[in-house]
Amino acid sequence: MKKVYSRPKSLKKVPMHYCPGCGHSIIHRLIAELLDEMSLRETAICVPPAGCAVLAYNYLDIDMVEAPHGRATAVATGIKRVRPDNMVFSYQGDGDLAAIGTAETLHTANRGELISVIFVNNAIYGMTGGQMAPTTLAGQITTTSPSGRNTKTEGPPIRVCELLSTLENTTYLERVAVNSPANIKKTKKAIKKAFQHQQKKTGFSLVEILSSCPTNWKMDPLKSCRWIDEIMVKEFPLGVIKEVKC
C-alpha cells in the first residue's frame, strides 16, 4: 500500500501540549503542510503569540521569535522590512490580536505590511484559564463574565475581519473554522491564499480561524465542534470578507 498521509516534515515529531481536541494542534499541522507543499520551510519566519500557542516553536520546524503579548505584528513588521524576501507570519489568539494588540493589528494592516496573520479565534483566553476575550459571545459565561458577557457594559464581540476590511491596504481577509473535515480543507486553502498574497506583495493578509477550546468552554471536543457550527458562526460568519485580486 502507498502512504497517502503522514506527518509533514515541518512539524516536529513530538507530542503537543495542547488539550484534547484543541484547534491549535490542527492549525499547526495545516501550516506545516503548507510550509512543505509551498517549499516555504527555508524562508519562513514565524512570530508566535503570548498564550497557549507560544509553544508553537516546539512544533513548527522553522525560524521563530517570541513577541510580547499583543505585539506580534509589530515584531513581524520589523522582520519583514529587513528581510522582504522571507515569508513572515504571525500566529495570534483573540486576546493577543484584538485586545492588548488591537493598535498593532490595526496599524500593521493599515500600513499594508506584507505579512500574513493567522488569527485563532476561540472566543476565550485559553492559557490564563478561560477569561472573557474580545471575541467572547454575548451571554457567554467565562471565569470573568460569570453571568455571561453583557454587551451593554462589556461590548459585543469584535469582528476582526470586518473591522479590518475598511482599511485600504488589507488585501485578503477570510474567516474559516477547523471544526469539520470540509472546514479544515477550506482553512488550509485560506492560509495558502494568505501566503500567496504575501508572495505577490499585494498587501496585508489575515485568516481568522474559529477554533475550539473544549477545556475552557467546558465541553467535550465533539460538542465544541458543534458549538462552532450552531452558535459561533452566527456571530462570526464564515467566508471571504475581503479579497483584492492578486
Binding site: E42, I62, V65, A67, P68, T77, I79, A103
Partner: protein, 360 residues
C-alpha cells in the same frame, strides 16, 4: 567628515547612520522629535533603509525587536514617558539577548511632567527599567560631540554583548548646537550574529525567546545575564576625571549636570586658585564607575553629587563609597537647569573648612 555645527539629536542620528544603522522606529514626543525627523530623511538615502513612524512607543520598540532579530542595526528614541512605554520591549530584548540602541532625551517628570531637560530617569535606565533581573548598558553624553561618539559605541557594545544599550541624554543636549566631527565608522571585530533569523536554509531552525518555563534553566539564564554584565563592567566602564590629582573635594555629576558643574569648578578656581575641587564624570552610568570613586575615597573625604533630579545617582555614589567619605548632594529636579554660579555657591559651602584657603 569636517567639523560642523549640529544639534545633539542630529549628531546622534548621523552617527547612527555612519555606524551602519539601517532601521529606525519611533513615535513623536518632545524634546526629541528632531531625531526621528532626521532619520526619516537620512534613511531614505541608505540602501535598505527602513523608517517607520509607529503607532505607539510599544509598537516602535517591538519593531526594533523584529529588525534586531532579523540582523539589522536598529535604533529607537523617545523621551521619558515614551521610554516608560518601551520598557516591556526592552525587557524582552534583554531576555532574548538582542542588541538595540535606545535613546532617551530625558524631560521632567513624573507623569507628563514637562519638556525641559532633566535627569530623573536615572533609576529607570540603570536598574534595567522593565520587569525581571537584567541590566542594560547606559551611556551618558555631556556634549554634542559625545552624543555622536557614544552612539558609535552604543551600537558596538550592544552587538558585542547582545544586550540593549541606552543613550541617556536630556532636552538640553538634544537641542543645543555645537561643533562636531562625525568620524567614519571604525569597524570593530564583533562576534558573528549566529542567532539571527533568516529562514532555516541549510541549517537547523533558530529560536529567539525569553520564555523559559523550567525554573532551573531560567535561573541559569538569569545568572548568565549577570555574568555577561560583569564582563561589560570589567571591560567597558568609562568615566572622565577632571582635576582629580590634588583634589580636596570631588564632584560627581554626569551629562548636562557635569557641564554645569565643570563651569562651577572653573568659576571657583578663578575666584580662588588654591581651591582644589576635582570631578569624576561617569560616562557609563551602567556599569557605574564605582572603582574609581572608591579609590578616590582613599585620598579625598568629601564628595559632592550634583544631579538634575531629587537624587538618584547619589545612591550609586554612596554604594560605591561603602561608607567612606562624606557625600553632599545638590539636586534641581523638574526640568530646572541651574547656572554654574548657583552650583558654585553650593559647592563652596560644602568645601571642607579645614582645607579652605580663607579667601573669599
Amino acid at each position: 567628515m569636517n567639523k560642523q555645527l549640529m544639534y545633539g539629536t542630529y549628531a546622534i542620528g548621523e552617527a547612527a547612520i555612519q555606524a551602519g544603522c539601517t532601521c529606525y522606529f519611533g513615535y513623536p514626543i518632545t524634546p526629541q522629535n528632531e531625531l526621528p525627523e532626521y532619520m526619516s530623511r537620512r534613511l531614505l538615502e541608505v540602501p535598505g533603509g527602513v523608517f517607520i513612524q509607529a503607532e505607539s512607543e510599544l509598537a516602535a520598540i517591538n519593531m526594533v525587536l523584529g529588525a534586531s532579530v532579523a540582523g539589522a542595526r536598529v535604533m529607537t528614541s523617545s523621551s521619558s514617558p515614551g521610554i516608560s512605554l518601551k520598557q516591556e520591549g526592552i525587557s524582552f530584548l534583554a531576555g532574548s539577548e538582542l542588541p538595540a540602541v535606545i535613546v532617551n532625551i530625558v524631560r521632567g517628570g513624573p507623569g507628563l511632567g514637562n519638556i525641559a531637560p532633566a535627569q530623573s530617569d536615572y533609576f529607570q535606565a540603570t536598574r534595567g527599567g522593565g520587569h525581571g533581573d537584567y541590566k542594560t548598558i547606559v551611556l551618558a553624553p555631556a556634549s554634542v560631540q559625545e552624543m555622536a561618539d557614544l552612539t558609535f559605541l552604543a551600537f558596538d557594545l550592544s552587538d558585542q554583548y547582545r544586550m540593549p544599550a541606552l543613550i541617556l541624554g536630556d532636552g538640553m543636549l538634544g537641542q543645543i548646537m555645537e561643533p562636531v566631527v562625525i568620524p567614519a565608522r571604525k569597524k570593530k571585530k564583533l562576534p558573528e550574529k549566529d542567532y539571527i533569523l533568516t529562514g532555516a536554509r541549510g541549517r537547523p531552525a533558530r529560536l529567539v525567546k525569553s520564555l523559559i518555563l523550567d525554573t532551573r534553566q531560567m535561573e541559569d539564564h538569569n545568572w548568565k545575564l549577570v555574568r555577561k554584565f560583569q564582563r561589560v563592567k570589567q571591560n567597558e566602564t568609562r568615566w572622565e576625571s577632571f582635576l582629580l590629582e590634588d583634589a580636596e573635594m570631588v564632584v560627581i555629576a554626569y551629562g548636562t549636570a557635569a557641564r554645569i558643574a565643570k563651569g562651577s569648578i572653573n568659576r571657583l578656581k578663578k575666584e580662588d586658585p588654591d581651591i582644589k575641587i576635582g570631578m569624576i564624570r561617569p560616562i557609563t552610568l551602567s556599569p557605574f564607575p564605582e572603582k574609581i570613586i572608591r579609590e578616590t575615597a582613599g585620598k579625598v573625604s568629601d564628595f559632592f553629587v550634583f544631579e538634575m533630579s531629587t537624587g538618584q545617582m547619589v545612591e550609586d555614589v554612596k554604594l560605591s563609597l561603602e561608607g567612606r567619605g562624606t557625600v553632599h548632594f545638590y539636586g534641581r529636579p523638574g526640568g530646572v537647569s541651574p547656572t554654574p554660579a548657583e552650583v558654585a555657591r553650593i559647592m563652596a559651602r560644602h568645601y571642607p573648612q579645614s582645607k579652605s584657603t580663607g579667601k573669599k
